[in-house]
């Protein structure tokens, strides 16, 4: 299963990536699984760790951690929005 992952705002700056394409290892079923997988990289990636105020979207729709991830999904992580 391959997904595209985008990062925005201070998360993008902290991680040093605006996007990446990931082939997911077995066992990653949900958005929450993916987030934990990324945080597990350690270092700057702990910005995605539990307790950090991070929001996420799958295919450009904001969703919670229990939503399933599917092949070719566009997934985004970002801080709470501050527009308007």
């Amino acid at each position: 299963m391959s997904v595209k992952v985008l990062y925005f705002a201070n998360l993008r700056e902290t991680l040093g990536y605006s996007h990446e394409t990931l082939t997911l290892p077995a066992g990653i079923a949900t958005l929450g699984d993916l987030r934990a997988h990324l945080a597990h990289r350690g270092g700057v990636w702990e910005a995605l760790g539990e307790g950090r105020n991070v929001r996420a979207a799958i295919n450009q729709e904001m969703v919670g951690p229990d939503v399933a991830v599917a092949d070719r999904d566009e997934i985004a992580f970002f801080p709470p929005v501050t527009g308007g």
């Binding site: 985008l6 925005f8 705002a9 201070n10 105020n53 979207a57 450009q60 729709e61 904001m62 985004a76 970002f78 801080p79 709470p80 929005v81 501050t82 527009g83 308007g84």
Partner: protein, 163 residues
């Protein structure tokens, strides 16, 4: 043009400024059933934009292209479901802005003012918590990402009680 299409044409995410008078006039142009147009303009403030003390000399608005439009369209569709509306217009800018610059415009046309006011405020409240925009301010101490305000979450949550 169907009601649904009209809603979606009404959303714009752009770097350019907009003409407030034109936008408001367009919402009632050529029709005699619009009795009320409520609108809102959000502007860059120089002072304590994120609650801290430093003056802001400029800011840059980052967004998530594609999702911004989709989220604004979803907010507008939600407003059409809740109130009797005759037209809406949402414009949100991105890029570099300085104090006094317009950031966002929301205009709502209806037969009666109650619907127009409620929908306009609803769209702003939801936009503030759901549309993927992020502000980074230039201050004398350097760039600073604006923190989300809890007040915005509670402003948006007010409307949930209506469901």
């Amino acid at each position: 043009m169907s009601e649904i299409q009209r809603q979606f044409d009404s959303v714009a995410v752009q770097e350019a400024d907009f003409d407030v008078g034109d936008e408001i006039a367009t919402l009632s142009a050529g029709r005699a059933d619009v009795g009320a147009v409520a609108s809102f303009v959000g502007l860059v403030r120089a002072d304590k934009l994120s609650g801290e003390g430093s003056a802001v000399s400029a800011m840059t608005l980052e967004h998530y292209p594609g999702m911004t439009e989709k989220s604004l369209e979803a907010i507008v569709t939600e407003a059409y479901g809740r109130w009797s509306l005759l037209g809406t217009r949402v414009i949100h800018r991105f890029g570099r802005l300085v104090p006094g610059d317009r950031i966002v415009f929301v205009g709502v046309a209806s037969s009666h003012r109650g619907d127009a006011f409620a929908a306009c405020e609803f769209i702003m409240d939801y936009l503030k918590t759901r549309a993927p925009f992020w502000k980074k301010e230039d201050t004398p101490e350097g760039g600073r990402w604006v923190d989300a305000r809890e007040a915005d979450d509670s402003a948006a949550a007010r409307w949930d009680a209506w469901d």
